[in-house]
């Protein structure tokens, strides 16, 4: 349920030449209401950085409505601010949950599923 890796990633994101232009965010296996507060803060930081964002959702085993809702708001905001957001990979569980809620398009997860 913890998303500690994100901290690490956010602080370590200077490890390569991309560091200046890309923010990496890795989602932990439980992406649910217990972590949405933290998730929101991290995503807000990513927006504030005005850099492209790469999300890694490969580890996600469970994604619930609250978390997906936060991601939806993030994608909407990023689009309106012309910030590019991409998934490096996304788990089946994550994609399926987004599809069920009818937000796979908004979260740009449809393509991954294909």
């Amino acid at each position: 349920m913890v998303i500690h890796e994100w901290d690490k990633w956010v602080s370590d994101k200077t490890s390569n030449s991309e560091a200046e232009t890309v923010s990496h965010i890795v989602c932990d296996e439980m992406l649910d209401i217990s972590v949405v507060g933290e998730l929101r803060v991290l995503l807000l930081e990513a927006l504030a950085a005005k850099q492209s964002v790469v999300l890694d959702g490969s580890a996600v085993e469970r994604a619930d409505t609250a978390a997906l809702q936060v991601l939806t708001a993030f994608f909407q905001d990023a689009r309106s601010q012309d910030i590019v957001v991409q998934w490096s990979s996304a788990s089946e569980a994550l994609i399926h949950s987004a599809e069920l809620l009818g937000i796979a398009d908004i979260l740009d997860l449809k393509a991954k599923a294909a």
Partner: protein, 689 residues
């Protein structure tokens, strides 16, 4: 990074305990062989929520245990299994186990694993046995009368903001829908704020869902059953007539306002559903308050009444204010009217505020059905528990303190009062005994009666025991009341056999002490062969008392009216000075110690001559004494302020109050002052020796 799951956990545990209360009360009403669909449904729901919640929070032992209970209940619900007394008892034991496990999870202590394992084994055994012939019970029609499946359904689903916080997840709901047929959800982003403005735990998306396939309305209803009251939901058959179900259940005023309800066009069936839903929520509310919380749930009507009163108070105040600006003597009448109005407002405000602390006594009574049920099983007795006056209101603090004494008295009635079925039959009574709990208001008191139709108290045996213990002499001519009063002596028991239920003689003295500490009293009435009645008389509240104002020197003290027996002028001939400084007053056949209040509190009195003062005869902690005061003043209701909180504990003083002229008056603690005088005379004696 720490995530505070504790808040969710606490809510889960609280709600689960409520669920268990519901399960227990329904199970107690359930009769073998009669599976009322709604009853079973209620228990099933409770078990299902506990299972789901405990799995979420990682209490796998609770969820595994509850799963077996749920499976059995599901079989009963489906009419595949009959309700037997054995099953009811097993479920009741399961409720206890789950309650223990929850308490263990909450407090982090070890639970009684053996008991849990035993009950679990019983459940497994029952589950392993083939379900008995299906009872075509009431459960049947509801599930069978499915409406013909439409070609598809259109569902508009608008969660209320708090829905996600209660553990509901739209992903899970939609997954269940997707399992039934082809599902397509279209999200409505209109309510979605920018990430920066977002309250992440609040639901802010709405959905329109199309579900195609042979799906019945009941199936869809079942999916959304858990979010009833947490969302706005409309289900329409595609190609069908019109909206079949539109629900805007209301949890609270604020939510209703936030929910922006859509016009309601409800079919009769929908209304019926709502009603049962409301009832369930009503049950929940009722049981929630039963736990000893430091908070109190107040009806909105009481709050509204207060707001109205405050409004009137403000009007009166402004009227008086205006009057004061250019006052002349010809306006005296208006001033008097205004003050009278102010007094009325204040009195009503006081009454209303006090009523907020009042709770129906059912909160204290609702533990007894289970207790009597269990004791009956243990003692092999047949007892019907009747309760009346459950709506009688009582101050919350008094309620909390009266719980244990009541348990003791009910337990005694069951154990000692009611006879075993064979004895009852032999005595020409019905096999089933009755224990009756009754509560009602009388004057400023609440009376609680615990009566049974058992054998009654054995007057001779009590008297014999009292003589044996030296509490009475064989020649004494004692009234029934005096003899029954021996029951409240410490260590007094007439039970031949000490059972684990009662009979150790521990308790009745504690019962009486607790009741006395609340400013109440207990009486016993008994008729041989017809049973006994214990009547507890309690003040309605502990925050206000009826007091007698007395003057000692320049100070005013308050003596609780309930403690005063009489007041009299001292006749010097009746005063006897005994060893040391102690003085006794001969009142009829008794001798009372005289306590000079000025002495006790170190004050300067009008006169130290006994005949110049007045003697107030009081009783406290079972002892009488005469308090010497200079003068008796008025009697009035006083609001008790704690001296301990505002100053410190003072022996002989139970609290303080503020009088009409703004001065502080101390309330005399009768028990304390009598004790103080004893100690004082002991000291005097030892000094003299």
């Amino acid at each position: 990074m720490s995530i505070d799951m504790e808040q969710f956990k606490a809510t889960f545990i609280e709600e689960s305990l409520e669920g268990l209360d519901i399960m227990e009360s329904v199970l107690l009403e359930m009769q073998p062989g009669e599976a009322d669909a709604e009853e079973v449904d209620n228990i099933f729901r409770a078990a299902h929520s506990i299972k789901g919640g405990s799995a979420t929070f990682g209490f796998s032992d609770i969820s595994n245990f509850t799963h077996v209970v749920e499976t059995l209940l599901d079989q009963i619900r489906a009419g595949e299994r009959e309700v037997t007394q054995e099953a009811i008892n097993l479920f009741l034991s399961s409720v206890d186990c789950i309650r223990d496990m929850l308490a263990g999870a909450q407090e982090g202590f070890d639970i009684n694993f053996e008991q849990v394992a035993e009950v679990k084994a019983g459940l497994d055994r029952m589950l392993g046995s083939a379900p008995e012939a299906a009872v075509p019970a009431e459960a049947g029609p509801e599930t069978q009368e499915d409406t013909p499946a439409a070609s598809g359904w259109k569902i508009i689903f608008k969660p209320f903001p708090d829905m996600l916080r209660s553990g509901n997840d739209v992903v899970r709901l939609f997954r269940e829908l997707a399992d039934m047929g082809e599902m397509d959800a279209v999200v409505d982003l209109e309510g979605l704020p920018a990430l920066a403005d977002m309250e992440p735990e609040e639901a802010c998306l709405n959905w329109g869902v199309t579900l195609s396939g042979a799906v019945s309305r009941e199936q869809i209803d079942e999916v959304f059953e858990w979010v009833e009251g947490d969302c706005e939901l409309s289900i329409t058959a595609i190609g069908g007539d019109e909206a079949v179900l539109v629900e805007t259940p209301v949890e609270s005023v604020t939510e209703a306002a936030a929910a922006n309800p859509t016009p309601v066009q409800a079919a009769p069936a929908t209304r019926e559903r709502r009603t049962s839903n409301d009832r369930r929520q009503g049950d929940r509310r009722k049981s929630r308050s039963s736990s000893e919380n430091s908070s109190i749930r107040v009806g909105i009507d009481k709050v509204d009444a207060l707001i109205n009163l405050v409004g009137e108070l403000v009007i009166t105040q402004s009227m008086l204010g205006q009057l004061g600006e250019d006052f002349s003597m010809d306006k005296v009448e208006r001033l008097k009217d205004g003050l009278a109005e102010l007094e009325r407002n204040t009195r009503e405000l006081q009454e209303n505020v006090m009523s907020i602390r009042m709770l129906p006594i059912s909160f204290a009574f609702n533990r007894f059905p289970r207790m009597v049920h269990d004791l009956c099983g243990k003692l092999e007795k047949k007892i019907e528990l009747k309760m009346s006056g459950e709506q009688t209101e009582l101050d919350k603090t008094v309620m909390e303190k009266i719980g244990d004494p009541l348990v003791h008295l009910v337990r005694n009635a069951v154990d000692h009062g009611i006879e075993t079925p064979d004895k009852r039959l032999a005595a020409g009574k019905s096999e089933t005994g009755t224990v009756h709990l009754n509560a009602y208001h009388q004057g400023g008191n609440i009376l609680i009666e615990i009566s049974d139709d058992g054998a009654g108290l054995n007057r001779e045996r009590i008297l014999a025991k009292a003589i044996e213990r030296g509490l009475a002499n064989s020649g004494d001519n004692l009234s029934d009341a005096e003899i029954f009063d021996f029951l409240f002596q410490p260590g007094f028991s007439t039970a031949d056999v000490v059972s684990d239920v009662s009979g150790r003689g521990v308790g009745m003295d504690v019962v009486k002490r607790n009741i006395t500490a609340l400013g109440g009293a207990i009486d016993v009435e008994s008729r041989p062969g017809n049973g006994s009645t214990f009547t507890i008389r309690l003040p309605l509240t502990l925050a206000i008392l009826d007091g007698q104002l007395v003057r000692v020197g320049e100070q005013t003290f308050i003596i609780p009216l309930v403690s005063i027996i009489e007041s009299l002028q001292v006749e010097p001939v009746r005063v006897n000075a005994i060893a040391g400084s102690a003085e006794l007053y001969k009142l009829r056949d008794d001798y009372l110690p005289i306590i000079r209040l000025y002495d006790a509190f170190g004050l300067k009195p009008d006169s130290t001559n006994l005949e110049d003062g007045l003697l107030v005869v009081v009783e406290g902690h079972g002892q009488q004494a005469g308090l010497l005061v200079d003068d008796l003043l008025a009697q009035q209701q006083v609001v008790i302020k704690s001296l301990e909180t505002n100053f410190k504990k003072v022996v002989g003083i139970s609290g303080a109050t503020i009088l009409g002229d703004g001065t502080v008056a101390l309330i005399v603690d009768i028990g304390g002052i009598i004790e103080l005088s004893h100690n004082g005379s002991k000291r005097a004696n030892s000094a003299a020796a």
